[in-house]
Amino acid sequence: MNPSAFNSTVVPSPGGHSTSQPVHASAQAMPPPQSEILRITFFAGMAEAVGRRHLDMPWTGGSVEQLRAMLAAECPVIAPLLARSAVALAGVYAADQTVVPAGADVAIIPPVSGG
């Protein structure tokens, strides 16, 4: 991705930068985001493509679909995987028409591969 697109709003991911390190933080455990800010959490290949676990970005309101479009425009490298990913708000899957409130805890859930 182009980090400069988010430079003014990115909150550095806590806890170092190695997947081999112990766990340090989660979307649920992070301090509450300020108003008008979305905290977006990425996982697995999406986090690797973005280059960070968490991203705080300004948000003036809109739907999940609009959030998808904004992320894809700001970070084209993730667009193909983003199109195959689900969006969760506060741990619950959200449809594209769902309104994303400012301050929401957003998780991008790419296709799963557990087991």
Partner: protein, 171 residues
């Protein structure tokens, strides 16, 4: 590029208990498979099935030196608890336990253990298979494959997780 783990203060998710099942849902150490099997022991059961998924050293001719798993732990815990309950109901089980390992694992080590017990073997076999299929389709857990040359790749097969809102709204 290394990314910090997503969940740390979520450690309680590892230890979530419910409905009489006292096994953790996630562990970062080797899974004690016999303990998982013992967790479903029940006087009403005539069949006990234990499935253990292990890390392959080769897939389609490509060598794998190890795996790494990560999860959205709170969502994955909710999903696993829901699947366990559904399995108990759908297959009339006596008990059901699922333990998934997270973090790095070596070839040959267990990544997941599923144990079920029930009155009869047919339902128990089917329940274990059904649970594994559902977990692979919908539980927000991801696998990264490490190659002997140091390369690694996260696995994101198919489309959105089954059961998510967007997937359900697709035509």
């Amino acid at each position: 590029m290394g990314i910090p783990h997503s969940n740390g203060d979520d450690f309680n998710c590892y230890r979530r208990r419910d409905g009489g099942n006292h096994e953790p849902l996630f562990v970062r150490e080797p899974i004690d498979t016999q303990r998982v099997l013992a967790a479903v022991a029940n006087d009403a059961a005539g069949a006990n099935v234990l499935f253990v998924g292990t890390a392959r050293g080769i897939t389609d001719g490509v060598l794998t030196s190890g795996l790494e798993y990560e999860a959205h732990e709170s969502m994955a815990a909710d999903n696993l608890i829901q699947l366990r309950a559904e399995a108990v109901s759908r297959f009339s089980l006596a008990a059901c336990a699922v333990v998934h390992r997270l973090g790095k694992i070596a070839v040959g080590e267990a990544s997941i253990a599923i144990a079920v017990s029930g009155p009869h073997r047919h339902a128990a076999w089917r329940a274990a298979e059904w649970l594994m299929e559902q977990i692979k389709k919908q539980t927000p857990i991801w696998k990264c494959e490490y190659r002997p040359d140091g390369q690694r790749e996260w696995s994101h097969p198919g489309s959105m997780p089954v059961g998510c809102a967007s997937e359900e709204h697709e035509p």
